[in-house]
Structure formats: C-alpha cells, structure tokens
C-alpha cells in the first residue's frame, strides 16, 4: 500500500511528488514518457497573476494568490539554480535571439544585462541544430540597437566527424558534451580564447562599453562544472533558450526526478494506467499496463497529473472527449477553435473542473466525484497556457498544493 500514487511525471506531478515525499509519504509515480518539460524551454511562466486570480474559474482564482505564491516559493527554495522574484518579470532570449518575458528562469539565462551592453559576442557552435546565427544576430540588433553584435563561430574536435558528414549536432548533445570531463576542458578553451579577443576590445579607450557573450546550447543550471568555468570569466554570459527538445527543460526534469528519487519516491517511466478500482467516492487501486500483464498498485490517495491533451491525459476523438485514467467528466467548450492560430483557442480550456481542494467535481450538482483524487496542472479546466503564459505557475501551485495536502 502506497501513501500516494501520482499519475503523470511532468512539472506538476513531480513537484507534488517531491513535496509529499518530503512530508514522509511513500509515493509512486507513473509516467508514460518523459514529461513535457523536455519541450518547454525550462523557463517558468506565471502570467499576469493579479489579473488571473480574478478570472472566473481560472486555477489561480480557485487556489488563491497565496497558494500560487507558496508553489513558487517552494520551487525556488528547492531549486536555487532558478532565478527570479515573485511577480517580477525577467527577460530571456528566445531560440531566435529576441527577448521574451518570463517568470522564473534557470540561472544563466537572464538577459537583463544586455540592456547595458555595447558589444554582444554571439557564440556560434558549428553545425548546431535549430540554431540560426544570422537570424539571431538580426534579432539581437533589433532588440538592442545600442549594441554591436559579432558572431563568433567555433568548432570542437569532439564533433569533427559530425561536421565532416554535415550532420547536425543537437543542442542537447552539445549540453551533454559540455558536462563531461573533456567537454568542460573544451569549454574553458573556447571562452578563454574569447577572453583575449575581448581584452583587446576593452583596452580600446574609445569604447569602454560592456561586452556580453550570448551562448546557445549551454545550460549551466544544475551543473557545477559549467558554472565554475563561467564564474571565472570577466564578462557575463547569457544563455539562450532552445527549441524542443531543450536541454534547459530536460535538466529541470532531471533535477526534479533526482530530488524525488532522493526523497525515496519511485518513478515508473514508460507505462500508463489501464484501469482503476473505485468504491463509492474513493479510488483504492490502479492497474498499470506492464509488458505482458497488468500490475496493481493500491494507495490511500491519488493525483492526476497526466498533462491534458498534450500529455495524453485527455483524448479527443471526432465524437467525444475522454479523461483517460478515471473517466472523469470534462469541461468541453462549445466553440472549439478560432481563426487566429496564436490567439485565444477555446479548445485549450478543456479539462476537469475541480473544487478548491483540487478534487474533481460534477459542476452541475456541485458535488465532489472522487474524494481521494486531486487533479493538477494541465488537467484542470479553464485556462490556456499559450495565451495566458501561466503554465509554470499553475503547475507549481497545483502540484505543491496536492503534495502538501494529499
């Protein structure tokens, strides 16, 4: 018998698991694949909290501002590799080099320093997939018109056969390499050569301006060796976010997983729930699809963190929409789409309606459906992370709350 079973291993599920395990609970987490953090840029967005806590039915409004803040504080306390202040807006660079707003960001991504820079050196690792030096340079010049932007191409022996073949090196492979013993040495070499170049620039009395280095595919957060190399430098380094799969997002996933494991939590990846057993208003057992047969796990309480439509927690067919684990009723908007792709899309608000304890409710009867099940993250109805920019905030707040109360 487990104290709690969390279905889904994304940001919300993992944070719930960490908090619950920290409270001494025996927690099993079941996850279909790597959670969606690998597709995020590793940046945590909160959106306009003041406005969203007043928006009817929004998860922020259900939980209240103090819980949203508790989730954020808890995350930051456990992951000091993240930078940011409550309700303060940070700036990071997109993978195309434009600035974008953010809430909490991995240390090293803070682009604030670019406002005072006069020279930006854009590091251009040879053959890096989904990195476009020319476009990035143009976007940096547009955003920081006071700056001269110089592109600094470099190539590494380690990827020589990739370059010869013309095969791209994906950003995550660059990150992996920087973290290996030989990679850290190579990184020192790369930045030191830059040091000399910048020294010359600095010694020019006509231009005493600040130089900043912009670096794609680095992801120094959660890596002491990379942080060490960067801390010795006389100039600031601003890392860029990346397209999926993103190293920063994946490193956050690893860090959450490791913290959860160190607290005694067990993570079962690559499988999903096939069936649940319910008695009255309580779930007591779930049946997991293992290879060849099913495995059963009993627990006192359950958390549903299966990531909405994208995470596979909600399946939509031409005829119906279905919550895949408990078969809970869903809020499905009448109008499904809107012609502007990046505008407000009603479909995105599909989800499970919950009470203030995050338990699923039948909204017509205003009755809790399952008393020992909490619904968190993208499974909750009535929000759209892509227009409200609050994906991280909802996940942290609801995850923390479930971990605290389960």
């Amino acid at each position: 018998m487990w104290d709690g079973i969390i279905v889904g291993g994304g940001l919300a599920g993992l944070l719930a698991g960490i908090r619950a395990a920290e409270r001494g609970k025996r927690i099993l987490m079941i996850s279909e694949g790597v959670g969606s953090l690998t597709y995020s840029s590793g940046v945590i967005d909160f959106g306009n909290v003041a406005q969203l806590v007043r928006q009817d039915k929004h998860p922020y409004a259900l939980l209240g501002e103090s819980i949203v803040r508790n989730g954020a504080d808890y995350f930051q306390a456990h992951f000091p590799d993240y930078h940011g202040k409550w309700r303060e807006v940070q700036t990071v660079l997109t993978p195309l080099g434009s600035p974008r707003k953010a809430g909490f960001i991995p240390n090293g991504l803070n682009a604030q320093v670019l406002h005072d820079a006069h020279l930006i050196v854009l590091m251009a690792p040879e053959g890096m997939k989904d990195f476009f030096p020319k476009v990035t340079k143009a976007n940096l010049e547009r955003a920081y018109p006071q700056c001269v932007v110089k592109v600094h191409p470099f190539r590494l022996d380690a990827f020589e056969s990739w370059h010869t073949l013309g095969k791209p090196v994906n950003g995550m492979d660059y990150t992996k390499y920087w973290r290996s013993a030989s990679g850290t040495g190579a990184l020192k070499g790369v930045v030191n050569s830059l040091n000399q170049e910048l020294d010359e620039a600095r010694s020019d009395p006509a231009d005493p301006g600040k130089s900043v280095v912009v670096f794609p595919g680095l992801a120094s957060a959660f890596s002491n060796s990379i942080k060490e190399v960067l801390s010795d430098l006389p100039f600031p380094v601003v890392e860029m976010t990346a397209f999926p799969p993103s190293a920063s997002g994946h490193k956050l996933y690893d860090a959450l997983k490791e913290t959860f494991g160190a607290l005694g939590g067990e993570l079962m990846v690559g499988t999903g729930v096939k069936q649940v057993e319910i008695q009255g208003k309580r779930c007591h057992k779930i049946i997991v699809k293992s290879k060849g047969k099913d495995s059963e796990f009993s627990a006192r309480s359950f958390v549903l963190a299966t990531g909405g439509v994208f995470g596979g927690g909600i399946e939509v067919t031409p005829e119906a929409s279905k919550e895949m684990v408990f078969g809970l009723p869903l809020y499905v908007p009448d109008e499904w789409t809107n012609s502007e792709f990046l505008g407000d899309q009603p479909y995105a608000r599909i989800g499970i309606e919950v009470d203030r304890e995050l338990r699923p409710i039948d909204s017509k009867l205003n009755e809790v459906i399952l008393e020992n099940v909490q619904v968190i993250g993208r499974m909750i109805a009535h929000w759209d992370p892509w227009v409200e920019h609050c994906g991280g905030g909802v996940s942290l707040a609801s995850g923390w709350f479930a971990g605290e109360t389960m």
Partner: protein, 538 residues
Amino acid sequence: MTDYQVVIVGGGATGVGILRDLSMRGISALLLEQGDLAHGTSSRFHGLLHSGARYAVKDPVSAAECIDENVILKQIAAHCISDTGGWFVQSSEDAQSYVEQWIRGCAYAHIPIREISLADAYLKEPLMSKDVLRVFEVPDATVDGFKLVWANAKSAKRYGGDYKTYHQVERLILDNKRIVGVAAKNLVNGEEIMVHCEVVVNAGGAWASQIVGTIGVPLDVICDKGTLLAFNQRLFQRVINRLHPPSDGDIFVPHETITILGTTSEIVDSPQENQPREPEVKRLLAMGEKLLPNLMGHRVIRAFAGVRPLHREDSEVPGSVEEGREVSRTFVLIDHEVHDGVEGLISIVGGKFTTYRLMAEKVSDWVAEKLGNTAPCSTAKENLMSEIPQDLRKQALRLLPCVAAEKMLERLGDDAEEVLTKIMDDPRKGQMLCECEMVSVAEVEKVASDEDSHHLADIRRKTRLGMGTCQGAFCTYRVLPLLGLENKKFDPLQDELKRFINQRWKGIRPVLWGQQLRETELTRAIYASILQLNENPG
C-alpha cells in the same frame, strides 16, 4: 505590333498545358497567374489519374477520354505519376446491377479490368473492410498536381514560353470588339503591366467568369467545392474506389507518404469559398468507414478543399443544379466571337485534371488555326522531363539519405544538380530541414531563391515542406534563415512565419482531434510560449 501572339490567363494544369502546347508549335505565348502556379484546383484534388472507370456508367465519353490520356500521361509524365493501380470494391451495400452496368461501361470505353480474389485482396490491402463482395483492378494511378504543373511550365519555357506568377488580370483590352491585350497587376510589387496580343485564352478555371467579366462577357461557371482529407500515412497501397455511383467519401488515393480521402461536392458562390468545414469532414469519414473500418481512429493531418469549375450550359442532366456531381465534367470550349461577338477570346471550362493535356490540345488547335499556324500537336509524344542521368542519381544517393535523394530527383529533375553542388560544397546543407517529408536544406534554399518563390507557401508547393505529419511545427522556423535577410523578396520574417502557420491552421481546424490536436498543442507551445510570438517583446 504585339508582345505575344497569345496570353493565357490561369496557371493551373490546363493553362500550363496550353502554354506548353502552343510553345511547342512555335506560337509565342505568355501565361499570367494571380498566385503561384497550381495554387488552385490543380493541387486541391485527390491526385487520382483516372483510368476512366469512375465514369464508366454515367459518362462514357469522359471515361474513354480518361483512359486514353491515362496511357499518354503515364508515358510523358512518369516522374509525376505513381503507377499504383486501383481497385473498384463492391461492398455489401452496393447493388449488383450497378456492378454489371459498370463492367459493360468499362468494356465499352476500353478500360481493362480484372477481378481479384478476396483472399488476394486482403493480403495486399489488410486494412480494407471485410464487408466486401467483389474487387476489380483498373489502371488508376496517382498524380502529383504540383509536379505536373511545374513540369509543363518548365518544358514550355524550354520552347520559349513565358509565365508570370502573382500577376492578376485587371481587365482584357478590346479594340472594336477585338482582343488586343491584357492589363495586369503584379501583386508582389503593385506594378501595372500591359501586354499586347492577338488572342486571349481564358483558362481561369473556377475564376474564369471573373476574367471575362472584366469586359462584361457572361460565362456561367458553377463552383463545385470538394473537400478532401489527408491521412498521416499510406493506409492503402493503391487507389481504392467504391463500386457504386460516384458519391462523397468513396475514394482513397495513396499519395506520396499520405492517403487522401475524397471528395465532397457542394455548389458554392465563388472560388474563394474553399474552406473545409467540420460537417463535410465528418461526412467524409462516415462514408469512408465503409471501405476502411475504424477510419475515425486514424490520424487526419489536414482537410483541404478545391473548387471545381463546371459549365452550366453543358449540363444535359435534368435535376437539381445544387448537386454538383450531376453536372457533366466533360470540358467545353467557348469561342466568344460566336457567343458574344468578341473576337480573339476563348474560354476553356470544365474537364478534369486527367484530361488537361487533351483540353490543351483542343484549345491549341483552335488558336493555331486562328493564327494560321499549321504545326500539329506534339505534347503527347514528348516527355515532360528528360530521364535523370544515372551519374546524377548516383551522386544524389551518395550525398543524401536514399529517401531524400529519390524524392528530390523526382521533384527537381535536372535542377537537382545545383542542389547537389551546394551539398558538396557544404555538407551541412544535406541536413533534413523538413524531417517529415525529408526535404534538405539545400533543396529548400534552391527553391527559395527561385524568382517565382515569393511566399513560404510557394516553397511548400514545390518541395512538400510542411506537408507531413508535423504540419510545419518544426520546419517553419527552420526555413527562416533561408528566406534571405538581405534581399527583400520575402515579407518580414515574423509576418511570413505567422502567415504560414495560419495557412496550415486553416486545414487543421476542421480535423482538430486525436494526435493532430496534440501536434497543435506542441506547435502552439513553440510559437506562443517558446517564441512568444503573440506578445510584444518585453
């Protein structure tokens, strides 16, 4: 004094077919197209190269034309055609009497058919419904509308023909009831041009009545909208038709990596009404289930619609004109001197993709006679594209993964050499920019630099970029650096990017469920969250 002897309006299959035919006869001709070549109906159909069997019962004339052209096109346009063969499948709901009529019709039109045993049929097409009574093989094939249109245009160019894309005809110019020229506007830079000529051929398809309308000549073209679905993978290896009177959702066409299910038929007011709608999509799926069970469960990557031009006066079939399928699809050639007293103007309306060459031949015969040219038509005898040299193929296979190499050679023909040189100079350009459809960076770069490419969608049509599973989620941003930051040929990158994903969205909206909905979430995450394109930079 004229600039060209002939101006052809409309860059669909018929238009470019006429351009090629006239050019081969030594008649100087210019084609004007308001968008990109093949942007309209010629690329918005199921991609079936008819054997004629589909018309065997109702329209024996069409059927006979189709089988003749089918044989010709398989020869002259082999690189645009995949000779998959096709089946006509009688389901338990389909009448035996119709089957017998159909067999007689095929015999009458000289369409070869062969009955296949059910055991053999299920072995070859394991997904096909088990509720099938009889299966017949016919020489159907699949044809790529984009490739065929471009191959015609390129062939015409070699014979001195000219074409201008993104040129909209403003009005036809008359001198005393005689055509003397065309005024058109370059939609890319707003420039007005005037072209003098002796003859105007109106091959505007669904837009044909708008073109002659500029001089007040009436032309009754019925716009028949047909919606189709594109499935993520090849569900069948050959064209599968239902053996019953043609109707909605009764034909599956495997096309490159996807399967197309067609087609609905609905009269609309104008060719602009080419938005696929959800009810049509559901109707298609419901009908398609008869041939492929659990169809709803298979991934639809997009819906699209084309508007077929049908000529009302040609309709001999009594009954409601609201039902587009009841109007004959045999083409008509209208000499406006006879009908409207305007000399030097001819409209070609109706017909079908499979018979584009025949239509072009008839039009060109008329034009040639008018101009006193006696050269015979030779479009059926000469291949559209020369054979790809063996050493070029070998080189492609050495430099690119075999899938990418084969596909590029099919698309580019001789132009592939330029792409291969790029890759040789810089092996990084051999990377796949579009991983779903395996299009290399070098190929996209080459096509982007073509003078005819003005929008991302033009590149898409020529390469299949963004037409695969991800529907542009990843390749849209990857293509940006190739659009040339220096030259101003393309609109500002962010605009181009937003326009492209919004165009893709049009086709995804009516099929937004299942895996394509997940894909959409991922795409929105990339553009709205990672790139925050829906926010002002902060």
